[in-house]
Subunit: 338 residues, 2 copies
């Protein structure tokens, strides 16, 4: 009872400038601290996080941002490990982030268990970050966007953003990356039914993984079937015909082809300016999304609105009040209460 | 120059109660006046329109609301005319409305030319209303929603909402109807590419029109191909497998089958409560959409915001300012200016 641990003197918190300097030097430990600051929900961290972001922003943007999703069992971790290692060996610096709004609910994160990408997370040119634990998709997406900027400032030139595809997380990821990859399995017909509605329409490259051994022929047939279906859909990116490819992450077959296709995509979209236009549009959209989120939070968190809303809603549903009139009453109350 | 027309004394405007009484009695002339009031953009009409809506709302809701869209040339008008006449002959009262945000731009409306549905618009049990001429999709959709309520209160038990499919108008129509029909032509492969992204996924019944004469075999093959594709997609409505059917509006073949499928759909979805749940969800969504629209209008129309927004936006795009910080600055300005 008496031999309590002696108090360890707490280290002085780094200033925004110190964090920024460390990030810009590519210091991984400081990058991790900077991301933790960005991810923090504590109001006292907000201002410093903003200061940090403003310092690193001029050094951000110089990467290719790759989104990856896939049906469960398609082997996302194995693929990202093999793909990331391949890129590191080519001399790239690779950061792996995740948008996983479920992690806070289930307690586990898709990337929380770093052993899933054991090799890659130990590579000096790779940085694997577990998913932020903030609850809502909006919150997780905001933090991931800002983490992308930090990683870019730290010199990572390939950013991989993974999602398990809970809720609208693919749409969120698509809105923050340059190219979107879907990892699928053989047996297009059956697989497609397990796929989320609309997911094919976001896809620039569809990778049929596990194309090895006995599975290879099946994978080639799946590739043909997927190609046919992609052909029916409008391309996810203007001027780029979405493609299906086969690969084997386990045996590291076709990983180079995936990367070459990404490079080709980058070349084509940069030449047509579609790449730059999408980045600008993404930045604008994000800005407006944050504004509208804030407006809604201010309104719906207001005590008067919280009290009136369920009353009006039940009057609408029971056919006693028109929705337009309910909106009017709500805003009159809001104006009076302000 | 001197023989100016004598001033015709203007008729006294009807009160909301008079309009409501007329609508509830099924008086078509008064229904038309009531809809015109709802469609008016004049601020002085707003309050009366709200009063009217509140009077008729308890009598609304007792209809099946059918959305229809289709590729250009699929024969929407001919189909709606044949389908509407068939229903009138069965003793139903049919209202045809339109969501066409383009009509104000092009000057013409998809339904403006009533001669397109000459027979139906003259039938005593039918009411064909041209598209409201308000500009934005949001505005048109709001008016159409309220017009549905008025028509229901006037005793119309089948409401058909047509759209040409400009912008997101199919999504808007899907959000106000119980069942959604897509009119297609033969040659699924080619046709599909002309179809709007995502439209198949909203569809409960896909009708291949012009299945007559030499075209019949082709239509049957198209039906098979479309069935296969629908099978790949998640059903638009829980518990209902989206179907492809053939018909010929011109020769009135298969119109009864379309109606029987709609009745079957109504039965299945009412038994599973999916019908009622969707209506409630639609009503709630609409209420929240109107709230958020109003919030945004208040904010973005504010003179301070109008002035600051482009400045901050260009700072973000040139990488001088983080989007989060820009949002903060904007709201600080907003609070100060209020």
């Amino acid at each position: 009872m008496t031999d309590r641990k002696p108090k360890i003197p707490r280290k002085r918190e780094k200033t925004a400038t110190e964090l920024s300097d460390g990030v810009l030097q590519g210091n991984r430990a400081i990058l991790a601290q900077a991301i933790t600051l960005i991810e923090s929900n504590a109001p006292r961290h907000f201002e410093k996080a903003q200061e940090l972001l403003n310092l690193i922003i001029p050094s951000s943007g110089k990467s290719i941002r790759i989104g990856i999703t896939g049906v469960p069992g398609a082997g996302k971790s194995t693929f990202i490990e093999a793909f990331g290692m391949y890129l590191c060996e080519l001399g790239h610096k690779v950061a792996v982030l995740a948008v996983d709004p479920s992690s806070s609910v289930t307690g586990g994160s898709i990337l929380g268990d770093k052993t899933r990408m054991e090799q890659l997370s130990r590579h000096p040119h790779a940085y694997v970050r577990p998913s932020p634990s903030a609850g809502t998709l909006g919150g997780v997406a905001k933090k991931t966007r800002e983490t992308i900027l930090l990683c870019e400032a730290a010199g990572y030139d390939v950013i991989i953003v993974e999602t398990v595809g809970v809720g609208q997380s693919e749409v969120a990821v698509r809105s923050m990356v340059d190219i979107f990859l879907l990892l699928a399995l053989t047996g297009a017909g059956d697989e497609l039914q397990g796929m989320k509605k609309g997911i094919m329409e976001l896809t620039d490259l569809l990778l049929i993984n596990k194309a090895d051994g006995d599975n290879e022929q099946k994978a080639l047939r799946a590739k043909q079937e997927f190609s046919r279906i992609l052909h029916f859909l409008r391309p996810a990116t203007k001027g780029w015909s979405s493609k299906a490819l086969t690969c084997s992450a386990l045996y590291q077959i076709g990983i180079d082809t995936v990367w070459n296709n990404i490079l080709e995509y980058e070349k084509v979209t940069k030449e047509s300016n579609v790449f730059q236009e999408r980045r600008e549009a993404q930045m604008k959209d994000w800005f407006y999304t944050m504004i509208v989120d804030r407006l809604q939070t201010m309104f719906f968190q207001h005590s008067t609105i919280k009290q009136q809303l369920p009353i009006l809603e039940s009057q609408i549903l029971s056919g006693k009040l028109s929705a337009s009139l309910a909106v009017n009453e709500l805003f009159e109350e809001y104006e009076r209460a302000k």
